[in-house]
């Protein structure tokens, strides 16, 4: 079989492969930094001091896997059913509010929310409307 214009064709293929595979060979062997969400805000430290433990609305494992479901359910309960009190499986009562309850403790959005969301390339649009806490130290650095 005869190939016409061999030189430019193979050069073109080589350039295409070089570009298309760039992400693979460029990152080969490197490990990404694992996301490490921080739970060391003043409010959480204060809570730990008073209660002897860190504690979220639901157990940690559930929150890690299902916080988005919980938040969606909170949203529906508050907005559509006008019901703002949540009784947790731990028996505690929480005010269902992203701005006034979640972020009251987790006032470090950049080091808490964004840490994993950026790593996973998920872009929730909570903050288009909801107001994120002011992060003073972050702004200074």
């Amino acid at each position: 079989m005869k190939i016409y214009n061999k030189g430019p064709v193979f050069l073109g293929i080589a350039i295409f492969l070089a570009l298309a595979l760039f992400p693979f060979y460029n990152n080969f062997g490197k490990t990404n930094k694992k996301p490490e969400p921080k739970t060391d805000t003043p409010a959480i430290m204060e809570y730990e001091k008073l209660n002897g433990k860190k504690e979220c609305v639901e157990p940690k494992e559930y929150m890690r896997a299902e916080h988005m479901v919980l938040i969606n359910n909170w949203r529906d309960a508050v907005v559509r059913d006008d019901n703002r009190g949540y009784k947790s499986s731990t028996g505690k009562r929480w005010n269902m509010s992203l701005q006034n309850e979640c972020m009251r403790c987790h006032s470090n959005k950049k080091k808490f929310c964004d840490e994993c969301h950026n790593y996973m390339a998920v872009k929730p649009f909570c903050w288009d409307c909801h107001i994120q806490p002011v992060e003073k130290e972050e702004a200074r650095s």
Partner: protein
Amino acid sequence: MSMDRRQFLKVAGISSILGFGASAASATHPTWQPSLRPDQMDRNKDSLWAKRWAMVVDMSKFKTDGDFQKTIAACHSIHNVPDFRKPDGSVDRKLEIKWIWKSTYEKSFPGMEEGKYQSEHVKDMPFMLLCNHCTNPACVRVCPTKATYKLETGITMQDMHRCIGCRFCMAACPYGARSFNWVDPRKAANLDPAKGGKVNAEYPTRTKGVVEKCTFCTERLAVGKMPACVEAAPKGALLFGDLDDPNSEIRKIVANKLTIRRKPELGTGPAVYYLIGGGEHA
């Protein structure tokens, strides 16, 4: 090997059922629940509750323009309502967002007779207008996503998460109570920190492309507070209560005095009553 469309769809369908579909969903979401169970809900004991929230506006208590402005300002600052101004400082009517506003008699009550000998006082009187939280709201009927709906307490509420910005509700509302966010409200001078603005961090803003209006302060009722306008208005000017309760103050006023509502002939059943003459009640 070639495959026709029918074969491709069969293979794709079966493999998605076997491989992903149901098993994958239950494997990744073992604790998924579609909504909160009743035992997970615990309503605030202090919250104010009614079968039919309604308002009486006693126009005789609004004496100066300042009375109107401070009422409007209280609502708009608490709810992060953007205030868009033209370069010359006047309100930009195209971008204007209003939850509660001041208007003229003929715009507020266009069906009412404006006879030659009618009280000049009433004809020239400005009126405090807001969402009427209708019993049979046109906006709710037309909303294609159920983003606006009635709460049990009679409040016409909207869910910004569901609003697609079609503005059917604005076309349907006979009271002009709804405003559309043509631009990002956070760019308004009163909300943008870069322009010296300040937001109420306890309440969200809205985003570009949604419709908003008065909510009778559901978030304040939930913690046992009266609506912001009621607190800010001159004493007794705005009365808020349960119209369904025969002993409530507003029910007594509506039952005993002559009050008018905006465009009642449309059958929407507005829940904001206007007391024109005032008197020695309240």
